[in-house]
C-alpha cells in the first residue's frame, strides 16, 4: 500500500475549498493551514500561462522530517503516510527546518502539525476531506501499489511532475500538467 495524491492542474481553479475543508475537518486553528494554493504566472500579456496548485505535505518516501525527529514523534504509518504524535513531540522544530516544502508548522499548543491525508477518514474508507469537497474534482487519491487504481492510471497516462524533486525526498503528491 502506498497512498498518493494526484492533482490535475489543468482543472484546479484555485478556489481554496480544499483549504477550508481541511480546516473544518481537522480543527486547524484560524491563521494556520495544512494545505494551501499557489499560483504561478509566466509570460507577457497577452501570452500568459498560469498554473494553480493545491499543495500540502508530500508524504515523502524519504521523509527528512521523520529522519531528523529526535523522539520518533514524526513517523510513517501503513500506506506511507507521515504522521506526528503530538504527545511525543517536543517542539524542537528540526522537522520544520528539514521540510523542503515548508509543510509543517507549530500548532498553537506547541506540537508540530501538518497534513495527515485525513488518516482518520481513510480508516473509515473515506477520502481525505480536501479531495472529497473539490468542486472541480481535480484531486485524486489512492494506492500507487495497485496498478489499476485511478492514481496509478492517471500517472501512467498523463504527463506529471512533483515539487522540488531535486530535494531528493521522493514526494508523493503528483501534479498532472
Amino acid at each position: 500500500m502506498r497512498y498518493a495524491m494526484v492533482i490535475d492542474t489543468l482543472k484546479c481553479v484555485g478556489c481554496s475549498d480544499c483549504v477550508v475543508a481541511c480546516q473544518t475537518e481537522n480543527d486547524v486553528p484560524i491563521g494556520y493551514c495544512r494545505d494551501w494554493i499557489t499560483e504561478s504566472v509566466h509570460g507577457t500579456y497577452p501570452n500568459v500561462v498560469m498554473e494553480l496548485k493545491s499543495e500540502r505535505c508530500n508524504h515523502c518516501e524519504k521523509a527528512p522530517c521523520v529522519r531528523c525527529c529526535p523522539t520518533g514523534a514524526s513517523h510513517i504509518v501503513d500506506g506511507g503516510i507521515v504522521l506526528v504524535t503530538p504527545n511525543e513531540c517536543i517542539g524542537c522544530g528540526a522537522c520544520i527546518e528539514s521540510c523542503p516544502y515548508d509543510a509543517r508548522f507549530q500548532h498553537p499548543d506547541g506540537y508540530v502539525d501538518k497534513c495527515t491525508f485525513c488518516h482518520h477518514r481513510l480508516e473509515k474508507g473515506q477520502q481525505p476531506a480536501c479531495v472529497s469537497v473539490c468542486p472541480t474534482k481535480c484531486m485524486y487519491f489512492g494506492d500507487l501499489d495497485n496498478p489499476n487504481s485511478e492514481v496509478s492510471q492517471l500517472l501512467k497516462n498523463r504527463k506529471h511532475k512533483t515539487l522540488a524533486p531535486e530535494a531528493g525526498t521522493k514526494p508523493h503528491i503528483y501534479y498532472l500538467i
Partner: protein
C-alpha cells in the same frame, strides 16, 4: 515576468514569509556547545599529554566554563522548544539519523562529565571559596568522590576527547543535516563549526590564562585554527558557488545580501582576520594585548552562529 504567490493567503506564524523556528537560543546553544567542546578537548588533551602542571588554565582553570556553558546552552535549547512538557521524550529513544537526538544524548553524557572534571579540581583551584563554604566538611562523601575522580581522571580524559569532538561537530551537523535549507546543506559545516568551537575554546583559555607561556602556546594553536577555519569558509563558499540554483541564492545572502555585513564584517574580518594578524604580530614578538584578539574570536564565533541560523532559515526550495 514571472510571478509566484499564495492565493489561499498562507500566513502561518513562524513559517511565512520565511522560517523563524529557531531563534537566538539556538544560536547561543550552538556557540556555547562549541566553546565547551573546545575547552574540554584541550583540557583532556593536555591532561593526557601530562602537561596539566605546565598548562594549568587549559586543564584546570578554564574547565569551570564548560559546565556553565553547557547548562546555559541546555536551558536555551529547552527554552526554544514549543512543547516543553514533553522534553523527556528525548530520552525515551535514540534515533541514529537524527542530529538532534545525537546532541541530546551527547549532552547528557558530556555535561555531567564536565561537572565532574571541574569538581575534581575544585579544591585545588578555588581553595579560598572552599574555605568559606566548607563543602567538604559538611558533605563527607565529597572527599571520597574527589579521591575517586582524581584516580580515574585519565579515563574521563580519554572519554572526553571523542565526546568533545562529537559535540563540536554536532553543532554544525545539526544545521547541515537539513537538505531543505540550502545555506546549511553542505558537508563543511560540521568541521567548520568544530574548528570554530576549538578556536573559541582556545581564545577562552587565553583570556583566563595568567601565564605568558601558556598564552603563547594557545595563541599559536588559535592562529592555526583560524587559518583552517578561513580555509573551510572559502571552501564552503566555493561549494555554494558550484551548487544548484537554490544554493546560489543562499550564497547570495552571505556575499551580496542582508547578511553580508554581519558575515564579512563581524565574522571574517573582525572575528578571524584581525585576530589572526594580531596573534601573528604577538608571535613575532611585538607586544599585543592578547585579550583583544581572544575577545574578537569569541564574539566572531557567536556572531557566526547567529548569522548561520538566521540566514539559513531564509533559504528554501519553494515559495
Amino acid at each position: 515576468m514571472q510571478e509566484e504567490l499564495f492565493t489561499s493567503g498562507r500566513h502561518i506564524p513562524n513559517i511565512d514569509p520565511s522560517l523563524q523556528i529557531w531563534h537566538w537560543p539556538i544560536s547561543l546553544y550552538l556557540f556555547l556547545g562549541g566553546l565547551a567542546a573546545g575547552i574540554l578537548f584541550f583540557a583532556a588533551l593536555f591532561y593526557i599529554l601530562g602537561k596539566d602542571k605546565e598548562y594549568p588554565t587549559a586543564v584546570k582553570i578554564a574547565s569551570i566554563v564548560p559546565p556553565i556553558a553547557l547548562s546555559i546552552g541546555l536551558l536555551a535549547l529547552v527554552y526554544d522548544l514549543t512543547h516543553k512538557l514533553y522534553t523527556w521524550q528525548l530520552y525515551t529513544t535514540f534515533r541514529i539519523e537524527s542530529p538532534m537526538s545525537w546532541g541530546a544524548w551527547v549532552l547528557l553524557i558530556v555535561t555531567p562529565l564536565s561537572f565532574l572534571w571541574t569538581f575534581s579540581y575544585y579544591r585545588e583551584v578555588y581553595p579560598k571559596m572552599e574555605a568559606k563554604l566548607k563543602l567538604f566538611q559538611r558533605l563527607k562523601f565529597l572527599n571520597s568522590l574527589e579521591a575517586f575522580l582524581s584516580k580515574n581522571r585519565i579515563y574521563i580524559a580519554y572519554a572526553l576527547i571523542p565526546l568533545a569532538l562529537i559535540l563540536g561537530v554536532y553543532t554544525g551537523i545539526l544545521l547541515s543535516a537539513f537538505n531543505a535549507r540550502p545555506l546549511w546543506n553542505n558537508a563543511i559545516l560540521g568541521p567548520l563549526f568544530l574548528t570554530s568551537g576549538l578556536s573559541t575554546g582556545a581564545a577562552a583559555i587565553i583570556l583566563l590564562s595568567k601565564d605568558k607561556h601558556e598564552r603563547h602556546l594557545f595563541g599559536k594553536i588559535d592562529l592555526a585554527l583560524i587559518i583552517v577555519e578561513l580555509a573551510l569558509i572559502v571552501h564552503m563558499i566555493m561549494g555554494y558557488y558550484a551548487g544548484s540554483q537554490v544554493q546560489l541564492e543562499a550564497m547570495q545572502l552571505l556575499v551580496g545580501g542582508d547578511f553580508t555585513v554581519m558575515f564579512f564584517g563581524f565574522v571574517v574580518i573582525l572575528g578571524l582576520l584581525v585576530p589572526a594578524v594580531m596573534e601573528l604580530i604577538d608571535l613575532i614578538g611585538f607586544k599585543v594585548p592578547v585579550i583583544v584578539p581572544a575577545t574578537l574570536v569569541i564574539i566572531g564565533g557567536l556572531v557566526f552562529r547567529f548569522v548561520m541560523v538566521e540566514a539559513g532559515q531564509l533559504t528554501r526550495y519553494l515559495y
